[in-house]
């Protein structure tokens, strides 16, 4: 049995949020006990950790994720696969070798692992155009493609906004086109992967 994919590493998620809070709390405690009169010591123990925490929350995650994406791409190439398609989604990166039927993926909230697996493990793939409302209210604020691996659903947005746009809006159409293309490519990779594996078992 292969290892199931994990979208979220709980330890990382909790650590990401709480470690800076704990460090700040320690800093404030230290300030309270040692630098009650203010001065440089007080600044170093309160201001500095607070600013660093905010910087970490804003930039830390995306920096780590970008590094992880690069690592996934390098590993994909190193293992002899060609990146026919790469999709940089929000919090997820998906790479595909369509001919060899391989799929690579990494997740924002699980930077400890990158996955490269045969596309046969994808059970199904589909598009969600996010269509809501009717009449003149009809529109969408999110378009994504989805697929399941080992029963785990992965959603990758090709367009997301806090506003709703008409279904014939350029942004929505572009999002649908990207999602359609990814689903088509995933299904193609899956078909090739299945063909390759039957060839192997025949040998």
């Amino acid at each position: 049995m292969e290892e199931k994919i994990k979208k979220v590493n709980l330890l990382y998620l909790l650590g990401y949020i709480f470690v800076p809070i704990i460090i700040c709390a320690l800093g404030y405690a230290l300030c309270y006990f040692c630098f009650r009169d203010g001065g440089t010591g007080a600044v170093l123990t309160t201001m500095v950790p607070s600013i660093l925490a905010v910087v970490w929350w804003i930039f830390g995650g995306s920096l780590i994720f970008r590094k992880k994406t690069k690592e996934l791409e390098q590993r994909f190439n190193a293992e002899g696969y060609k990146r026919n398609q790469t999709f940089y989604g929000r919090g997820k990166t998906v790479v595909l070798d369509i001919e060899k039927g391989m799929l690579g993926i990494c997740f924002f909230w699980n930077p400890c692992q990158t996955y490269i697996l045969p596309a046969t493990r994808v059970e199904k793939a589909w598009v969600d155009d996010g269509k809501m409302g009717s009449g003149f209210m009809e529109g969408s604020s999110r378009v994504s493609f989805l697929f399941t691996i080992d029963g785990i659903k992965v959603r990758v947005d090709t367009f997301a906004s806090n506003q709703r746009f008409r279904m014939d809006d350029k942004r929505i159409l572009t999002g649908i086109s990207k999602a359609d293309m990814m689903v088509q490519n995933i299904n193609e990779a899956k078909a090739h992967s299945e063909k390759n594996s039957t060839k192997k078992t025949e040998k």
Binding site: K170, L173, S177
Partner: protein
Amino acid sequence: MGIFQKLKAALKDDWCSGCTVQMDEVGKQLYALPSMTVGHFQDIEDPNYYVQNLVKIQKKAEIPAGVYACGTYLYHCPQCGKTVAKLVVFLPVRDQEQVDGAHLFENKALIGFLQKTQ
């Protein structure tokens, strides 16, 4: 010649700008443009690019998702005899078309290519 006719010639693609008369449509064909995919549209004005990259297809359904298409029209002026090609570059998305660029060409190589592949 009236100002209205001149305006029409300037605004309408199938009007000859020199003679300000309506040209005849003498050809129409759909192509795929596999070199251009969704998110990577470029407004290319070099006619040779189209000669090299257009792939003739029978119907829109043959174009894979995310790949651009190009509708081409050939017009012939009955007065001065010149031929003009109109290219409309669009992204087919399900039953809709997102038009991103349109060009008029009088380039011989491109017109020859289009006439040959009609």
